[in-house]
Symmetry: C2
Subunit: 199 residues, 2 copies
């Protein structure tokens, strides 16, 4: 398998982390969005949407969209609950992540970390929605170890990368103890180096 | 089953169409977003994200996010390909819809149809991305009857509602013959009254 990804992208990292966790062999093909490497004719032939992550499966067939890739790689593993309702709750979180979390938390982080803007100059509507997404997560995680059921799942895998980067956008995790504790649990579970965001 | 939905929302309509297509019994609970009915304490107790559609399954358990609901209701039906790779391609389109199509095509349509703005006054970036989403669909559908494989699937179900409404935002379907033909096929397949967008 080949994973085409940009190492600064949480959407790409979650594919890498999923493959690592499942012990899948892959070649990582670094593909820089800011360098225009997702807009070359060769890349567009693989993914006409011009987005990373993209995987070429072992049989050469392409698959795009980070969360679709996670669900493909994780099929039949303990990353997806066996109970159909809980599996659907995992999907609910994964769609929520792409619609109500990533467009705000990830975009705010990108503007600060990679475009050099100060958090104070971000669009107030963007910040408000990012804060709202983190509040929603904090409420959902109150008294819970994981987002769905009693085990780490693809819901946690999909949400943790950009949530973990939120302080890079000036968004507070220390004021959200349920999120902070959950990030630490995810880091331990995935064997990631801690970012020191726990309260 | 109860479906809480706003009849002007394509995200809600696709849940209704899926339930209708599968012959599932349900009560439709009209829930107006603009009336604030998704922000009442009673509704937030069911879905803390404050969004429709929301379903209460027959056992009373809630499920949100339109595409997660489609996948839950459609599990084991002919709306999801049996081949795992094709199933993942359906997921790829469903995540693309929520990230790269709905936030532009649906938002443009809402601003024109329900906020009374003229298409000429829309944010040019919004229009450019909506046009790009429709172009991407048109290219993908060239020479194909359906988005994935050789049969109507949840990929088509997820994409057709807001695509069909695109002319309400001043976005052209007549100039995109592959999309127009596909909409007509979806309308026929789902037994919907045609909107007359075919070329």
């Amino acid at each position: 398998m080949k994973i085409f990804g940009d190492s600064i992208s949480g959407n790409c990292l979650k594919v890498k982390w999923t493959a690592d966790h499942l012990g899948l062999a892959y070649d990582w093909v670094e593909t820089g969005v800011q360098k225009g490497e997702t807009r070359t004719p060769a890349f567009l032939a693989l993914n006409p949407a011009g987005q990373v992550p993209l995987v070429l499966l072992d049989d050469g067939r392409p698959l795009a969209q980070s969360n679709a890739i996670l669900l493909h790689l994780g099929r039949g593993s303990d990353l997806i609950p066996a109970d159909p309702y809980l599996e659907s709750r995992v999907l609910e979180w994964m769609f929520w992540e792409q619609y109500s979390h990533e467009p705000y938390v990830a975009v705010a982080r990108f503007q600060v970390r990679y475009l050099g803007r100060s958090p104070e100059t971000l669009d107030p509507g963007l910040v408000r929605r990012a804060e709202g997404a983190l509040d929603h997560l904090d409420t959902a995680l109150k008294g819970r170890d994981w987002l769905v059921g009693e085990a780490f799942s693809l819901a946690d895998m999909a949400l943790v990368p950009y949530t973990r980067f939120a302080p890079e956008a000036g968004l507070s995790l220390q004021s959200r103890p349920s999120v902070s504790g959950w990030i630490s649990r995810c880091e331990t579970y995935l064997g990631l180096p801690g970012l020191g965001v726990s309260p």
